[in-house]
Amino acid sequence: MANLQSTFLGIKSPNPFWLASAPPTDKKINVLRAFEAGWGGVVWKTLGSQVKNVSSRYSTLDYNGQKVMGFNNIELISDRPLEVNLKEIREVVREFPDRAMIVSLMADNDRKSWHEMVKKTEDTGAHGIELNFGCPHGMVERGMGASVGQDPEIAKMVVEWVMEVAKIPVITKLTPNVHSVVPAAQAVIAGGTNGLSLINTIQSVTGIDLDTLVPNPNVGGKSVFGGYCGPAVKPIALKFLTTLSQDKIAQKVPISGIGGISTWRDAVEFMLLGASNVQVCTAAMHYGFRIVRDMCDGMSNWMDEKGYKSIDEFVGLSVPNVTRWEELDINFHITAKIDQDKCIHCGLCYIACEDTSHQSIDIERGNPYNKYTIKEEECVGCNLCKIVCPVNDCITMEEHRKGPEYLNWIEFQKRGLPLNDH
């Protein structure tokens, strides 16, 4: 059995799965349940000046009967009294000393408030602090959350305030509501943050009720932009994560990966792109804390299969495999092949290619089953047919190099090689 033990900025947890700062980590009762279920750690829902939340708060993007492809919330930071939160944090730390307890903070925008908040948090015995510079709704209008994270200068300043008093590790959580997360990451590192986490939620409108014409979630006939997360945001999170992992400055600090992680596979992907551990929220909100069982089990089995003894052995391994477009090998060429024995004649490959791609599939009409074959000379190797095919390994992409040597676009242009003629 592989060892899932995780150490993030010296904070130990039995596995790399933390619950992200969100409703599931709002109260002692939730967090105890999470630890009983096996979660490695939690980031306690953001503390700050007490706020008031509205009803309703969540809405989702559902797709073809699959619920919660994406999840949206307009909930603010914790609306419970600060003292109650601090007391409960202290109790949980005592009850589960082997689990990571990180506390998310979003103080008012002045040095004194941040200092007080950091000190109070440290008094609980918590192991680390996460700075919420990412919340895209509600707090932004008050000059907090994403409005801090979106301005590298302000972000740096706040981190500096925090670091003046912090005795435990500080993680800065970044907002994805920017063109690039790198400037903010570099700034908060300059300000002294010990680690990074990303992504926070993405501003969104998930949909509109076609009877009332009010977008979701509906709060007494009105809605606001919310923060989007869940499986749909995973690709965006992975991209932002990669830009940090590839940045000379940002890569100096550990990163906690967040964004649509629902399974051990997602978690492994985040870690392969440089996250030292991961944080989960939406999947737990959909199915409850029990999902961590398969997360641990699946990751462990995968590690055994691949021969990894500890999680650090595979963190970042895929980072070098993301390159710049100009460096891709133009001589690499693949074409699709349909395994006629596996084909179920659904025609999805054909119509996708014929209507929207390169007309590279031949059809031989039959009753009731048509026969589909690839026109190899027309196939550009785009993967579309393979993607839409409902049968595993029915369509495979076979390599047929255009030339033996590596040839990138820059070299291609330099040599004045011919472009497509149709």
């Binding site: 009967g65 025609g347 089953y369």
Partner: protein, 447 residues
């Protein structure tokens, strides 16, 4: 005990004859199943439907919450899409062709999804089609069965005023009179006929029988065109001794009686033998059992491999507790005091393939005898040969001959459905009605 009625309590009868096709109880169920459909291109299910319903489209419409559109998609191709979703042998049509079968997975429940959309449309009386203003042309349709109704609807849609002449008291043809009641309940048949005719321009005159109350010549004179959707008639005789004995009945009239009376009034025997293994034979056997017959034995000349009914139908009979004797043909019914008592059968074996492509049963000369008090003959129906011949309509042993425009040898007289094909599925009759309507519209345009 012999042949008697009132074998079961009212509650038992209600339970035994309730619809065996429960609908999706909730939209979620339908949507879940709809989302299982992978939306094939040039879909095998559509190609395997005699009326070419765009199955992937109507299923997609269920999943997108466009139930109205889904119902319209179905009814555009098959105006009896409601009834067909209950009586079609889908395992050899759309569902049989579903690509999931090729992965050894359960096919999409196309029929159940079709019942979902059409059921709501019929129940809510959605007006999905707008009839063109009347253009003054008049067409007579003989027979308010699936072929006649499909033809009438398609014609009325184009502004033709249609008069339908039906010999029975109700429309729907074999749907109403010839199919097991647990497949299509009498109420659903009536609802469906009402729904089809709600488009307007269709006047059904009941209790008007061709050759009796009306004549073809008269119709030809009064109308611009005539469509004959008269179906098939009399049950095929077994032509064996004892067929006249009390207790020997044909399946068509047995089911007809059952569909037109209280179930409690229908008599069945203790020991019923059903001759044949087609859909009607199954309907007769299962319903005998459901009326309270103690033993029902189905007798068929060939083996299970050659049976004309589907596996699903056979399973229905098995689940109802019927037993089966394969490779046996009735030879003689022996009576006592004029009542059927014993059925003598010949053992058969399979020989060379016959015209149908199936291996033909060959008499072995060996016989066996079973105790019976009722024999139901379900060896097929024969067309209205005399009626057709009398009207000088070209035919093949009573099956009306038509050209590729569905027109008979008589100008302006069209035909379709069982009357032409000798007896196929409801869905085939619907398509025949549509085809004839197309032929009639072309004919009316040219004349």
């Amino acid at each position: 005990m012999g042949i008697k009625n009132n074998r079961l309590s009212t509650e038992e009868l209600v339970a035994n004859f309730s619809d065996i096709h429960p609908p999706f109880e909730h939209a979620e169920g339908a949507i879940l199943e709809a989302n299982r459909c992978i939306n094939c291109y040039d879909a095998p299910c559509t190609k395997s439907c005699p009326t070419s319903i765009d199955v992937p489209l109507f299923i997609k419409q269920i999943s997108s919450g466009n139930i109205k559109g889904s119902a319209r998609t179905i009814f555009t191709s098959n105006i009896m899409g409601g009834g067909c979703s209950k009586v079609c042998p889908v395992e050899k049509l759309c569902e049989g062709a579903c690509v999931y079968n090729l992965r050894e997975e359960e096919p999409i429940s196309i029929a159940k999804l079709q019942r979902y959309s059409t059921g709501i449309a019929i129940h809510e009386k959605w007006k999905l089609f707008e009839r063109k203003p009347s253009n003054g042309k008049k067409v007579a349709v003989v027979g308010a069965g699936p072929a006649g109704l499909a033809c009438a609807h398609a014609l009325s849609l184009q502004g033709i005023d249609v008069t339908v002449f039906e010999k029975e008291e109700k429309g729907g043809g074999l749907m109403t009179y010839g199919v097991a009641a647990y497949k299509v309940t009498p109420e659903s048949c009536k609802e469906e006929v009402d729904y089809i005719t709600s488009i307007g321009g269709i006047d059904i005159q009941y209790k008007k029988e061709l050759g009796k109350d009306i004549s073809l010549a008269e119709l030809q004179k009064k109308y611009d065109a005539v469509f004959l959707g008269i179906g098939v008639g009399i049950a095929r005789e077994l032509s064996i001794p004892g067929e006249e004995l009390e207790g020997v009945e044909d399946a068509i009239s047995f089911i007809y009686n059952l569909r037109t009376n209280d179930y409690a009034k229908i008599s069945v025997g203790d020991k019923v033998a059903v001759i044949g293994m087609g859909m009607t034979a199954i309907d007769a056997a299962t319903q005998s059992k459901r009326l309270g017959a103690k033993e029902v034995t189905m007798i068929y000349r060939r083996t299970e491999n050659e049976k004309p009914c589907t596996d699903v139908e056979l399973d229905l009979a098995k689940l109802d507790g019927c037993s089966f004797i394969w490779l046996a043909a009735p030879k003689e019914i022996i009576g006592e005091n004029g009542k059927a008592k014993k059925l003598v059968c010949t053992k058969m074996k399979l020989g060379e393939p016959d015209a149908s492509g199936r291996r033909a049963p060959v008499d072995t000369g060996e016989t066996f005898t079973i105790e019976v008090d009722m024999v139901i003959k379900a060896a097929g129906q024969i067309p209205f040969e005399e009626l057709v011949a009398k009207a000088d309509i070209k035919n093949n042993s009573g099956k009306i001959s038509i050209n590729n425009k569905a027109e008979t040898n008589l100008k302006g007289v069209f035909a379709g459905g069982d009357a032409v094909n000798g007896g196929k599925e409801v869905v085939d009759a619907v398509q025949a009605g549509k085809d004839a309507a197309k032929g009639i519209l072309e004919f009316l345009k040219a004349h």
